[in-house]
Each structure stands twice: as structure tokens, then as C-alpha cells.
């Protein structure tokens, strides 16, 4: 990791260095080019200009000479006397002049000469000439005459050729006598210098009037310069094609640049190499060294921070200069905010002592090692440390200080304290009352140490008798001799624990039970060397043990009896542990379920259950164990069992909890096969259903019978009526009385049927329960029966209760009707009352009438039962039967009691109290 970092550092340094040189190189090239190229270009331009000027001057010279020569020749002609004379005399026909002019040639070229007089009129012309040229000459002559100029020169170009026109004055003395002009054909090419002809140049000659060109068609990239040819007013323009110059220039720049670039490249390569060797390589080495140093530093810091020892160093002003993490942690602080701290702030309690030690070390220059002291940081954990303090002097700045290494020895101190405690404990134990200590210092020797308590246990004063093995042997009960020493031997040779019970003879001469235990130590060859042990008086315990044995025997007897009971019980008895595993499975259970005890012992009791109990039983158990809410315990329940062969049977199960020390140790279940009972119950249920059906049938029968019987009965009644009507006049007394009897019997039958119908329909109507004012109800019923009108007095004090008002109405109507019917002869008083007791209303309907003989009390509630012949008291005999049926249907009772005042009868009936929903 560390090396890679430094390598990459080195790489980047190299890269940056190379990048730097490359950029410098580029900058160099750009700067140099931007200086050199314009320089080359301007140099070239200067060269071009000077070359051109030179050529132009030469050309001007040539043209001037050409023109001068012709002008001079023409002047010579003009200065000839015949010409002068001809001009002066304005005689163009002068022979002399004409011959002279005709013979004159200009530099070997014969050209037309034209002589003008002073007025500019043509005096003589040697030959016909181009008219345009002639006109121009004429013009020239006039301008000489008018402007007094020595000569004029003009150029003309037309279809017939190019011409040089020259005009000079004809002078006589100083006066102008005429003008001589010539039209001189010429070609520009003739007057262009040979050098120009070969080079890529063009020439233009121009006057105000005309411009003549030569060679312009060859020019691609023109560069022109001009100059006046004096005094003729001709402008010479020299045009050069600079394309070759440009090419040359580019070529030059290219070659310059290439050489420059190569030179620069070489120079920079050199610089780079030298620079790398002189700067980069040492720099990279420096980096690598630095990385290695920082790695070492980190390693050191790592060690410094992770060494499980507290290290710090302080200066002589008691400030912590540096410390490791362990040290900082021990003070409950961070390294960063502990460096530079004063120890008086960190260890207010101990700082003075620490500082004194530091100063002693610094001043003496000698180390203090192994200082064991308390360590009391303000924030960290307190404890004990062993500290080494070593002086140091910083060689660079001469500062003095102390280097501290401190180790947490809290555990060691604690262990030492424990050891001290345990030693104290041993000493205390040795002094304790119930245990005696002995120390057999050398097992090959007889001598022993006995603690004072040992003597005391035996009834002796301390060291009253000698403490050694022989004495012990003498005190030991002869019967305990053998097993005690056998145990001792087993301990010595096989290192079996030595723990023996034996009797020792006390000072009083009686034996007491002791329990002796001890531990030997062995040398390297496995021989016992020393043995230490204790004796404890267990006499009381031993007696108790005897009693316990007797109690155990008794309990075992009890257990036997219990198991006999369990085995001989007619009911199946199963005991399970709290997890449901079967522990006891008695004979009856085996017989009932078809499993043997061995088959089910340890199995979960589930196997005796069909689904869904089978899957849920474990849940029931855990639920009970956690909530302690019994669902079945303590109450019998009918459940289904499953025999080994899979068939199910109903059983009655009662479960009891077995508790030991108030924790559940198991459950006992007592099971009785109730198949027979259930079967009987089912049969009974069937009977009940049959009975209910037959009752319903009977009621239906009663209803239909009475209903259907009524129709023919009415017919009979009608017919009897009509017969009586028809024979009323003629029939005798007897017949009429028979008919009356017939009608009477029909009425009775009708009333019987009506009663029967009413009886059968009890409970058929709406059973709506509502709060009903019974006083009102009785009043209405009595009104309907005209009881008061008939002289009866009805006193009623009844509550408003929740009941079926139609049923109550039926009850009271029937009761009142009953009283009225039987006491019509002597109307009486009726008392109706009601009391609430034990969840039911008890009504008492008492009249002061004729009463009912006691032997008839049971009979009156039967159907069609009347106490008197119907001929005396007309009644269906159904009233009380209906009342009884209503009352019993509602779960009440009805009975008759003695009246309070002796006469009359009291009907009592009860109704369970119903709360309005």
C-alpha cells in the first residue's frame, strides 16, 4: 500500500516533468516562429522592392534614350535651313525643303514628316499618314505653339499599329517659325530591356491619352512600380509576377522552420535528460524515502497505540507531551485532547505524588521502576498500576522530561486481595464452631495439626490430647475403621474424593457421628505428600436421617397402596407430566384403550385422542401452564377417546393437577367409558323427539278435530232451531223441552270444543314480551266478564311486569270466569296479589267464594274436569287446564292454597322473572 503510493507519486512527478518540457518546447516553437516568419517575410519584401526598382530604373533609362534619340534627330531636321526657310516663308512647296524632308530618315527608319506653319497649318507632309495620328500631331503642334514648350511626345495605338508621335518647334534664332512633327511606328517590345523580356515581367507605357502594354497577360500575381520619363510626360509601369518570390519565400520559411525545430528538439531532449538526472531522479528517491519513513512512523504509531500498556512522556513542567491510545483510553479521553494537558487536571488525587516521582527521576537522571500505585483518572476506570519512569533529554533542544510506561495490575491486586481474603476466611473457618480442621503435614509421619474446634467437637480443651494419626485411630469407632481407611487409601492411590462418615469417641466416652473430608497433595511421582481436611459433627443430622428412612419406608408403603388403588380402580387412570408424556397407565386404562402400559409410557397422551383434540392438546397444556386458567381441570367433561385400533368412544374425563412445591408436576386424568350412557341418552333423545312430535300431532289433532267438529255441530244447531221454529205452534210441551235439551247439549258440546281449541292453541299466538300493567289487564278482563255487574268485588294490587299480555289476559280471564261461574249465586270478593321472590313472581288469586275441597285440588287442573254437574254450573272444564298449561309452558308452577279466612280458595302460580331485553 505504502510502496504503491510512492510509486504513483514518482510516476506523476515524471509525467509532470515531461509535460512541462513538452509544453516549454511547444511555447518555444510558437514564440520563435512568430518572430522569425514575419522577419523572413519583410526581408523578402524589401529584396523584391529593391530588385524591381533597379529593373524599373534601367527600363526608364532605355525608354528615355529611345525617345531622346528620336527627338534629337527630329530637332536636327528642324534646324536645317530649308526647313526654317520654308516655315518662315510659309512656303510648303519649297523644293529644297521638300526634298530635304523627303530624304530625311529618322535613325534609319523612314517616317512621315509633317511641317506646320506658325499658325499650325500644314505646310508640307512627306507622305500620307494615319489620319488619327496626323490629327494628334496637329494637336501637338498647336500645344507647342500655344504653350511655348520645347517639344511634345505622344503615343497612339489603333488598328494599324502603335505609333510614337513627336513634335518639335522650327526655330529661327529664339523665335518659333513652325512646327515639325513625325509619326513614328514602333513596338513596345522593341524598347523593353532584354532582362525583362526573359523574366516574368510586363511593361506599361502611358500618357494622359493612351496606355500601351506589353506582357501583362503573363502575370499571375502582379507587383507593380512606376516612374515618369521626363520631360516627355510618359509614365512607365513595371509589373512583376511575384509568384516565384512567394514560392521561394515559403520554401525558405519551411527550411528555416525545420532546421529550427530539429535544433530545438535536440536541445530540449538534452535538457530533459539532464534535468531528469539532475532533478527528477533525486526527487523520486526523496519521495520513496519519505514514504518509507512515514510507513515506519505509522508502524511505530500503530505499536504505540495498540500496545496494551499505557505509555506517555511528560516534560519537566508536568505536561503530557505524547501518549498512546491505551493511556488516553484509561483516562477516558481521546489522544488529541489529552496531549499538552497537565496531570493535575487528569489525576487530581494522585498528581502530586506522580509529579514528585517525575521530578525525582528527572533530577536524578535515574529511572524508577516497578512503582505500584493507585491510578485515579477523573473519567477513566480506577485501579492499580505498576509504573516505570525513565528520564529523557531531548538532544536537539535540551528539554528534559520523563518517559512513563504503566501497566494495569488491578486484577493482580484484586487476586492478591482475594487470596488474602481466602486466607482470612480459612482462618475464620478454622475457628468456626461446627467444623474442625486438620492438617496432616507429612503423610509419612504420624504428626498432625488439629484446629481448636476439632478438639472442641470431641469435648476436649485445645491440645488437651495429642493431635496425631494414632490418636485418631484410637478414637475411631471399631466398626468405622475399615471403610474410613479404605476411603483414605483410595484417595491416596486413585485420587478418589475422600468423604467418609464415621464415629469418634468423645471425652465423655460416647461416640458421635462425624463427616470427614479432605484433600491430599501429591508429588511428581504421584505419591501423596500432605493432606488437609475437615471434620463436621453430623450426629444430629444422622439421627434425622434415621427418622427420614422410616418416613421414606412409610411413604413407600403409601405409594404401594396408591398404586394398588390405581391398578384396581374400575376407571381408567392416566398420569402425564406437564409436557403430556404418559407416566402411569393403569390396568383399566389398558383395557379401555387397548394399549399395554409399556406401549404408551413416555409417549404423548395425544395418541389417545382423535382429531382435533389430538392436534391441540399440547397447546392446551402450554396454555394452562402459562395462564393457570383451568379449562378442564377440576371439572368433568365429556370428550371422545381413541382406542389403539382407531375406533372412537365417548368418555367422561376429569383432570386433576399434581403440584409439587407449588409448581405443576403433572396431571392425573380419570376416565370412564360412557358409551353405554351416551347410547342411552341418544335413545332418550329420540324418545323425547318422538314425544314432542306426538304432542305436536296431538295438539294439531285437537285443533283440527275441534275446528272441524264445530261445523256440523252448527248445522245441527241450526236444524234444531228451524225444527223448533217450524213446529212451535203444533208441538206439545214435552217435544219442546226435548228440543231445548237438544240445543242445550249442542251448546255444551260447542263450549267443550271451544275450550279444547283454546287449550290446544295455548302458546300458538305471538309470544311478544312487553312490560304490561297487570292491574289494567285484570280490570279489562273483569269488565268483559261483567264481574262487577254481577256483584263481585275485585281488589288487585299487581305490578307492571315484562310478560306476554295475551297469556296473562287468558289466565286472569279464566280465573275470574271460574270464580264468577261458581259463585254466581253468592257474589264474593276477589283478592289478587303478587310478590317477587327468588327470580320469580308469585301470584295469588284468592276468592271468598264456595272454595274447593282439598281432595279435589289436584284434579281441578285436568282437562274437562268440573266439580259440579254441567247442568248446574255450565262450564267446559277447560279453564284451569288452560291456565296450568300457560303457566307451565313459561316455566312456572300452579297450585292451590288454603284461603286466609277459611272460606274460598287461593290459586297460586309463579312466573320466572323476565328482564326486558
Amino acid at each position: 500500500m505504502i510502496n504503491r503510493t510512492s510509486t504513483s507519486d514518482r510516476h506523476s512527478v515524471l509525467q509532470q516533468y515531461l509535460l512541462f518540457t513538452a509544453v516549454s518546447f511547444a511555447v518555444f516553437l510558437v514564440v520563435v516562429s512568430s518572430i522569425i516568419i514575419p522577419k523572413v517575410q519583410s526581408t523578402y519584401a524589401d529584396f523584391l522592392l529593391s530588385t524591381n526598382t533597379l529593373a524599373l530604373d534601367l527600363e526608364v533609362q532605355d525608354v528615355k534614350i529611345f525617345v531622346d534619340d528620336r527627338v534629337t534627330v527630329l530637332r536636327d531636321i528642324a534646324s536645317q535651313q530649308p526647313v526654317i526657310t520654308a516655315a518662315m516663308l510659309a512656303d510648303g512647296q519649297s523644293l529644297e525643303a521638300s526634298s530635304l524632308l523627303n530624304s530625311s530618315k529618322i535613325l534609319g527608319t523612314s517616317a512621315p514628316l509633317i511641317l506646320f506653319d506658325i499658325d499650325g497649318l500644314v505646310l508640307y507632309s512627306t507622305e500620307a499618314t494615319d489620319s488619327e495620328a496626323e490629327a494628334a500631331v496637329h494637336q501637338m503642334a498647336r500645344s507647342i505653339l500655344s504653350d511655348q514648350i520645347p517639344q511634345t511626345v505622344e503615343l497612339v495605338e489603333n488598328s494599324s499599329g502603335t505609333y510614337l508621335l513627336i513634335a518639335v518647334p522650327v526655330l529661327y534664332g529664339a523665335g518659333t517659325e513652325g512646327i515639325l512633327g513625325t509619326v513614328l511606328p514602333f513596338k513596345v517590345a522593341d524598347i523593353v530591356a532584354t532582362g525583362l523580356r526573359e523574366g516574368a515581367a510586363a511593361v506599361k507605357l502611358s500618357t494622359e491619352r493612351t496606355t500601351l502594354s506589353w506582357g501583362t497577360e503573363r502575370i499571375v500575381d502582379p507587383f507593380s512600380q512606376n516612374s515618369q520619363i521626363e520631360p516627355y510626360g510618359i509614365t512607365l509601369t513595371l509589373i512583376n509576377d511575384i509568384t516565384p518570390f512567394k514560392n521561394q519565400e515559403a520554401e525558405l520559411i519551411k527550411s528555416y522552420s525545420v532546421s529550427l525545430a530539429i535544433a530545438a528538439l535536440v536541445a530540449f531532449a538534452f535538457i530533459t535528460l539532464v534535468g531528469f538526472r539532475l532533478i527528477i531522479a533525486p526527487f523520486q528517491q526523496l519521495l520513496a524515502t519519505d514514504a518509507e519513513l512515514s510507513r515506519q512512523r505509522r508502524d511505530l504509531q500503530l505499536i504505540f497505540d495498540n500496545v496494551p500498556v499505557r505509555i506517555w512522556y511528560k516534560d519537566d513542567k508536568n505536561r503530557i507531551l505524547r501518549l498512546n491510545r491505551e493511556a488516553a483510553n484509561s483516562m477516558g479521553r481521546k489522544v488529541e485532547n489529552t496531549e499538552g494537558q497537565d496531570t493535575y487536571d487528569l489525576f487530581p488525587e494522585m498528581a502530586k505524588k506522580y509529579h514528585d516521582d517525575d521530578l525525582a527521576v528527572i533530577n536524578s537522571g535515574k529511572a524508577m521502576l516497578g512503582i505500584v500505585e493507585e491510578y485515579t483518572p477523573v473519567d477513566g476506570e480506577r485501579g492499580w498500576v505498576r509504573t516505570d519512569k525513565v528520564p529523557f533529554v531531548d538532544e536537539e533542544n535540551g528539554e528534559r522530561g520523563v518517559f512513563v510506561v504503566s501497566q494495569d495490575i488491578t486484577d493482580v491486586i484484586a487476586a492478591q486481595e482475594d487470596l488474602r481474603d481466602s486466607e482470612e476466611r480459612f482462618a475464620l473457618a478454622a475457628q468456626g464452631a461446627s467444623v474442625g480442621i486438620w492438617d496432616w503435614i507429612d503423610v509419612n509421619d504420624d504428626k498432625e495439626y488439629w484446629s481448636p474446634q476439632f478438639f472442641k467437637l470431641l469435648g476436649y480443651e485445645n491440645e488437651e490430647i495429642e493431635a496425631n494419626l494414632s490418636v485418631f485411630r484410637d478414637l475411631l469407632h471399631p466398626d468405622d475403621h475399615e471403610h474410613t481407611f479404605a476411603a483414605l487409601d483410595a484417595h491416596f492411590t486413585r485420587k478418589e474424593p475422600f468423604d467418609a462418615e464415621y464415629r469418634l469417641k468423645t471425652k465423655q466416652g460416647s461416640y458421635r457421628w462425624f463427616r470427614g473430608s479432605g484433600q491430599a497433595s501429591w508429588d511428581e511421582e504421584g505419591r501423596a505428600v500432605r493432606m488437609v481436611g475437615s471434620v463436621q459433627d453430623i450426629h444430629t443430622l444422622k439421627s434425622a436421617e434415621k427418622n427420614l428412612t422410616a418416613a421414606l419406608a412409610e411413604q413407600s408403603e403409601l405409594t404401594n397402596r396408591l398404586s394398588t388403588i390405581i391398578d384396581t380402580a374400575a376407571d381408567a387412570i392416566i398420569i402425564i407430566d406437564p409436557k403430556g408424556a404418559i407416566q402411569t397407565f393403569n390396568k383399566s386404562a389398558q383395557k379401555l384403550f387397548g394399549y399395554s402400559e409399556a406401549e404408551v409410557t413416555g409417549k404423548n397422551v395425544r395418541i389417545l385422542m382423535p382429531d382435533p383434540d389430538k392436534g391441540q392438546h399440547d397447546g392446551y397444556l402450554t396454555n394452562y401452564l402459562s395462564t393457570k386458567k383451568p379449562k378442564i381441570i377440576g371439572m368433568g367433561r365429556e370428550v371422545t377417546g381413541r382406542r389403539k385400533h382407531g375406533d372412537k368412544f365417548p368418555m367422561e374425563l376429569s383432570v386433576g393437577e399434581i403440584s409439587e412445591n407449588s409448581a405443576t408436576a403433572g396431571f392425573v386424568g380419570i376416565i370412564r367409558d360412557i358409551s353405554a350412557r351416551v347410547k342411552a341418552e341418544q335413545i332418550l333423545q329420540g324418545h323425547v323427539k318422538d314425544l314432542a312430535r306426538s304432542n305436536a300431532d296431538l295438539e294439531q289433532f285437537a285443533y283440527i278435530a275441534s275446528h272441524d267438529l264445530k261445523a256440523p255441530l252448527r248445522g245441527i244447531m241450526n236444524l234444531a232451531d228451524w225444527i223448533q221454529e217450524n213446529i212451535q205452534e203444533t208441538a206439545d210441551e214435552e217435544t219442546n223441552s226435548y228440543l231445548s235439551l237438544l240445543k242445550n247439549r249442542i251448546s255444551r258440546l260447542e263450549s267443550l270444543l271451544a275450550g279444547l281449541l283454546e287449550y290446544s292453541r295455548v302458546g300458538e299466538g305471538s309470544d311478544k314480551l312487553a312490560k304490561t300493567d297487570l292491574n289494567m289487564l285484570v280490570e279489562v278482563a273483569a269488565d268483559l266478564l261483567e264481574a262487577q255487574n254481577k256483584g263481585f268485588e275485585i281488589n288487585c294490587e299487581l305490578p307492571a311486569i315484562v310478560c306476554s299480555s295475551s297469556e296473562m289476559n287468558q289466565i286472569f280471564q279464566n280465573l275470574i270466569s271460574n270464580t264468577v261461574k261458581h259463585n254466581e249465586a253468592a257474589p264474593c270478593r276477589v283478592e289478587i296479589g303478587c310478590s317477587l321472590g327468588d327470580g320469580e313472581y308469585v301470584f295469588r288469586f284468592e276468592d271468598r267464594g264456595i272454595g274447593i275441597p282439598e281432595d279435589m285440588w289436584d284434579k281441578v287442573f285436568k282437562m274437562f274436569q268440573t266439580l259440579k254437574p254441567r247442568d248446574q254450573v255450565e262450564g267446559s272444564g277447560m279453564g284451569l287446564a288452560i291456565v296450568k298449561k300457560i303457566v307451565t309452558r313459561r316455566g312456572g308452577r300452579i297450585w292451590i292454597e288454603e284461603p286466609v279466612d277459611g272460606s274460598g280458595v287461593a290459586f297460586c302460580f309463579s312466573f320466572p322473572k323476565v328482564e326486558k331485553k
Binding site: H707, K710, A711, R714, G715, M717, N718, D721, W722
Partner: protein, 140 residues
């Protein structure tokens, strides 16, 4: 002139028929009486089928409930479903005082429900009531 109102007596009990007739005589009611012995025959008279002369309105029907073949409630059902007959004014006169019968009959829009309880008086009172009824009430 107002057409005389006919009376259709649908009754299976011969004695009751006599009872009605006697009551008519006693009350000197001369309106025509037609007797049908059950619901089927009653419908035949109303529709003029099975060789019976059709009873033309206006008429009143006096109907018993418990009858063979077609009982009174079934007869009511038929009549109320028939588009021609459903307007018929019908009184029920029966031995049943069962509330269920009373309710079922009034469900079928009967004009009145008379229980034949007290032998002859019933007929006299019932028919006297009908006599008044058809004298006062306009029939369809």
C-alpha cells in the same frame, strides 16, 4: 230502472244454504239467489261456462272458505286475477274465526268477513246487512 242485484252463494254445507234461504224468506228479500256448491262451480257461474247461465252484474258473492275442490281463498285468488271478474264485491261467511283466515281474505280485497257462530241469528243479521248494503251501495 235499476237492475236487481243477484246473490251468488258459494257454500258446500247444505244446512247453511238452507239457513241463507230461510233468512231471505224471513227478511222478504226477493233478489235472485244462485247457489254454487264450491269455488269451481262458482267460477263457472261467473264465467258462464260448463253449461251454466252466466251471472250478469250487478251481483254480490257470499263465499264460504272451507270447501271441497276449490276453497274460498283459492276462489278469491282466481277472481282477483281475472280481468273481467276482479271487481266483484265479495263477502266471506265462514265458520273459521282464525285470524290467519281473516287476514288472508282481506288481503284479497273482500268487502266483509262474517263468522257463522250463533246458528240462525248470523244468517238473519248477515243477510239483513247485505240487503241494506246493496240498496245503498252502488255496485259495478
Amino acid at each position: 230502472m235499476r237492475k236487481e242485484v243477484g246473490l251468488l252463494l258459494v257454500e258446500d254445507d247444505e244446512v247453511d244454504v238452507i239457513g241463507v234461504k230461510r233468512a231471505l224468506q224471513r227478511l222478504k228479500i226477493a233478489n235472485p239467489l244462485i247457489h254454487a256448491c264450491d269455488g269451481v262451480e262458482g267460477l263457472e257461474y261467473l264465467k258462464g261456462t260448463n253449461g251454466k247461465a252466466k251471472l250478469e252484474p250487478p251481483y254480490l258473492i257470499l263465499l264460504d272458505l272451507n270447501m271441497p275442490r276449490m276453497g274460498g281463498l283459492e276462489f278469491l285468488e282466481e277472481v282477483r286475477q281475472d280481468p273481467e271478474l276482479h271487481k266483484s264485491v265479495i263477502f266471506v261467511m265462514t265458520t273459521s274465526s282464525d285470524e290467519r283466515d281473516v287476514c288472508a281474505a282481506y288481503e284479497k280485497n273482500i268487502a266483509g268477513y262474517v263468522v257463522k257462530s250463533d246458528a240462525e241469528n248470523t244468517f238473519n243479521q248477515a243477510l239483513s246487512m247485505l240487503d241494506h248494503y246493496w240498496k245503498i251501495v252502488e255496485l259495478p
